[in-house]
Amino acid sequence: MGTAWNFSMTFFASRGLSLQHLKYEDGAFVTSNPALVKMLELTSGGLNRVEIDRYDAFVFVDLGFGIDLLEICSLYRVIEQRCRPEDIRQLLSHACFQTVVASELESSLAVQLAGKLRSLTGRPILICPRPFPAASALDEGALGDRNALYSVFSLCKAAAAHVAKASGLELVWPPDETMEIPGFTKSQYAFGGLRLRGKQQGSTREDGMHMNEDYGDHVCRSLLGKLDDLSEGAVFARNPPQSSKVDFSEGRRHELSL
């Protein structure tokens, strides 16, 4: 366990895309939506305003920004993906496919919020995209051969990188070790997936979208690494993390908003 981490994090979370009810007012994101106020207070430890000047960096998680190959590839395909009998998927050029992915991402809450936030502050805004679907949900027939996935996935990532850059977002992809194959999370990380309403106690059922603590551990390490890079080493201070679990209770100097 690193003992001298030089930061703190404040979480502001809510279910689904309900953060869309945030609006800017007097230096803070606030909401008059009672349910959202309650969720913000619950997740942040009592705060119901996101004071922009209080934080050195901002981290968005999901907020509609993600790549779901299952969904995209049920509608469209590129030439690397074999055409099946009765295939109703629309063949798109790589360029058009990327434009489709980019358009989806541009309409996400993350990009909308980034636009608002970027007009208020020049501080880093990081985005951890929605987890890739669990590999157990993979229908080979729907996606064509695995080699094609590499092409499709790289097109999606390029589109996401383009949108993130244009929106002033720093992308933090899930680490490679969480992926079974490109665009799909190892099924082990979907067991006991966490939701805001609490852990699915004792259940191994998965929805293929929500991931567990082990997954969160990997993503947090990537995230902190990125923040450390951006802060030129200020986050990890002298002791980079060694353990398998991240404890966010250490340190107070650099505050981050999730």
Partner: protein, 376 residues
């Protein structure tokens, strides 16, 4: 003394039909040969003027087919930049009848050829519809795969449409001498490279165009015996000519031939009608009001006037606001607006020239690119 002219309608006389009439208020100018209504499945194609026709039909409740719709998430502008939502399929502008016939033959055979893929700066363009991918394809294979899909869709389109509206645009074209393939743009304009050993200029004549269309019609009718066709001639002059003639003479030749062919086909076939948008916009009748300052681009008022006549005949209420037509706008007001346009300052004209593509109500026209080759 009896005269065969003495009992004719006022529309038969130039004074009453034209001199004392106005394109904005004219009645009984066009008489439809057959009816179309909102239940018909309409397909559109042709030169860029046909895009206006297609837009107006859709806005006024006609059922215009789109067999290659864009991915739903794309905005209209982005979709159009990828060649979607312009015509009933993603074929781009079809300027010549030979191009239309070629498309029909290809759709029936499903054949594609790598020789029809042009390159530029490491990107690849479908030479038969070079404007459908703004930055070209990644590879020849990709261009051909998308073309194969396109041809399947076009084949389906001509099976299911009841009414095909086609705007004849040009007689001039560039041909691959080896294969006889005709292209919508000259090689070297959007992509490819002009090679006089391979590419040849061809100015189609009446017989060629007539016979090409007759063959196209025959091919379509074998699958779709009851299809009706409405022909129009684009009133948009040539941006440039590759003939030895002055561009105005080349334009007159081109439009005259196309108008003659359209008229001849309409006389020969019961299921082919000619709609006179060309005369409304390009004749002395409209005194040039319907052109922009460059005397080439058709302004929105011109398109609206043409479509008003079309909708009047086919009995479907025109969306007046979309058409830019107001009940209160008199011919005098229209003339006043036109005069104002003519008095534009040099700076305004220069700006207008720069935005020609926009002023032509956002039509996607490859031939405009030829302007870039004009001496400065």
């Amino acid at each position: 003394m009896n005269s065969p002219y003495e009992n004719l309608s006022p529309r038969n006389f130039w004074r009453s039909g034209v001199s004392e009439s106005h394109p904005l208020t004219v009645e009984d100018f066009y008489r439809k040969k057959f009816s179309i209504d909102a239940t018909d499945k309409i397909a559109t194609a042709g030169s860029c003027f046909a895009q206006h026709v297609s837009n107006y039909l859709q806005k006024n409740g006609f059922s215009v087919l789109d067999v290659e719709p864009p991915p739903a998430v794309l905005s209209d502008d982005v979709a159009r930049s990828f060649g979607y939502k312009i015509y009933s399929a993603r074929y781009g502008n079809i300027y010549t009848v030979r191009q239309l016939l070629q498309l029909m033959r290809d759709a029936q055979s499903g054949s594609v050829d790598a020789a029809d893929v042009w390159s530029k700066d490491g990107r690849y363009f479908d030479a038969l519809r070079p404007n459908i991918e703004p930055n070209g394809f990644d590879s020849v294979e990709e261009a051909l795969a998308l073309r194969t899909q396109h041809l399947e869709k076009v084949s389906g389109l001509f099976r299911k449409t009841n009414v095909f509206i086609f705007t004849l645009g040009l007689t001039e074209a560039w041909i691959d001498k080896r294969s006889g393939r005709v292209f919508p743009t000259a090689p070297g304009t959007i992509a490819g490279e002009y090679n006089p050993d391979i590419h040849a200029f061809h100015n189609f004549g009446f017989n060629e165009i007539h016979d090409d269309f007759a063959e196209f019609y025959d091919l379509v009718r074998r699958r779709n015996p009851n299809i009706k066709i409405i022909l129009t001639v684009s009133p948009v002059p040539l941006t440039a000519t590759a003939s030895d003639d002055h561009v105005l003479l080349a334009t007159t030749y081109s439009k005259s031939v196309l108008r003659s062919v359209a008229g001849a086909l309409a006389q020969e076939y019961d299921n082919i009608d000619y709609f006179p948008s060309y005369e409304m916009i390009a004749s002395p009748w409209s005194k040039g009001f319907f052109y922009d300052a460059n005397m080439r681009s058709v302004n929105p008022g011109g398109v609206a006037s043409v479509m008003r006549v079309f909708f009047q005949q086919h009995g479907i209420g025109q969306n007046a606001s979309e058409a830019g037509l107001s009940e209160s706008k008199s011919p005098r007001e229209v003339r006043r607006e036109a005069n104002r346009a003519k008095k534009m300052s040099r700076k305004e004209r220069r700006n207008r020239r720069k935005s020609d593509e926009v002023s032509d109500e956002d039509a996607v026209c490859e031939d405009f690119l030829l302007e870039a080759f004009a001496p400065q």
